[in-house]
């Protein structure tokens, strides 16, 4: 189940639903991403621009759901999954807020762990989300990280 929403989500409800759907699962893994407090670079790139007060998440409606479905289909073709859930929030968020949740159920723990990590790695750079961080004095779109494209290499052999 894939959901893109502005509202916060309840990990417990998602876990409960997945546990009921997944039948004889032996392993359920959940990943939750939270907004971190970080400092904005000033004009010289020094981290003195004030701490982040809001994070704004934009996405491409339609393509987002399509790309997340494609990522889940890829995960299902690689591991014997009994269920998956993805929730990604959009709009205005603050430090400490939940941004994203991925949950996977499988008979065996390694499949559940790897599938959840695979989905997160692909979601980071293959789903059309963009983040803008703002402090009291400035705002900037967050650049993609080379560590995120590096992470994908693990799954490409």
């Amino acid at each position: 189940m894939i959901t893109v929403q502005q509202a916060d989500f309840d990990l417990a409800a998602e876990y409960k639903g997945l546990r009921e759907d997944a039948g004889d699962a032996g392993a359920i893994v959940t990943f939750t991403g939270l907004v971190r407090e970080f400092y904005m670079p000033d004009a010289d790139g020094a981290l003195t621009g004030g701490s982040t007060q809001t994070l704004y998440l934009e996405h491409y409606p339609g393509m987002t759901e399509k790309s997340l479905q494609d990522i889940v289909a890829q995960a299902e073709s690689r591991w014997p999954l009994l269920g998956t859930r993805i929730i990604h929030r959009i709009g205005k968020l603050h430090p400490g807020d939940q941004i994203v949740m991925v949950a996977t159920a499988s008979s065996h723990r390694h499949a559940a762990f790897e599938a959840a990590e695979f989905i997160m790695d692909y979601l980071k750079s293959h789903a059309p989300f963009w983040k803008k961080q703002s402090s009291a004095t400035s705002s900037d779109w967050i650049s993609s990280r080379s560590s995120d494209s590096e992470a994908l290499k693990r799954w490409q052999d």
Binding site: Y60, H88, L123, H126, S143
Partner: protein
Amino acid sequence: MIKILYFASVRERLNKSEETMELPADINTVAQLVALLAAKNPEFRQLNEGGQPLLVSVNQTVADGSASLAANDEVAFFPPMTGG
């Protein structure tokens, strides 16, 4: 008519989120469309000259310059994605 969408920093730079245009008869690929948009709009041309690559999708699937275009396609331009 094709629909063109712009997201995130690309949208802000161009100061528009979408436009529609009649697909000229001699424009058959994404690369040809990019050349046309760059010729019409210096801001668009500069998008490709900055630090980060400009990504494109056709009908909600990431594409490259060689992807073909047809009437009613939905094309989008955006910076590298940063989800999660």
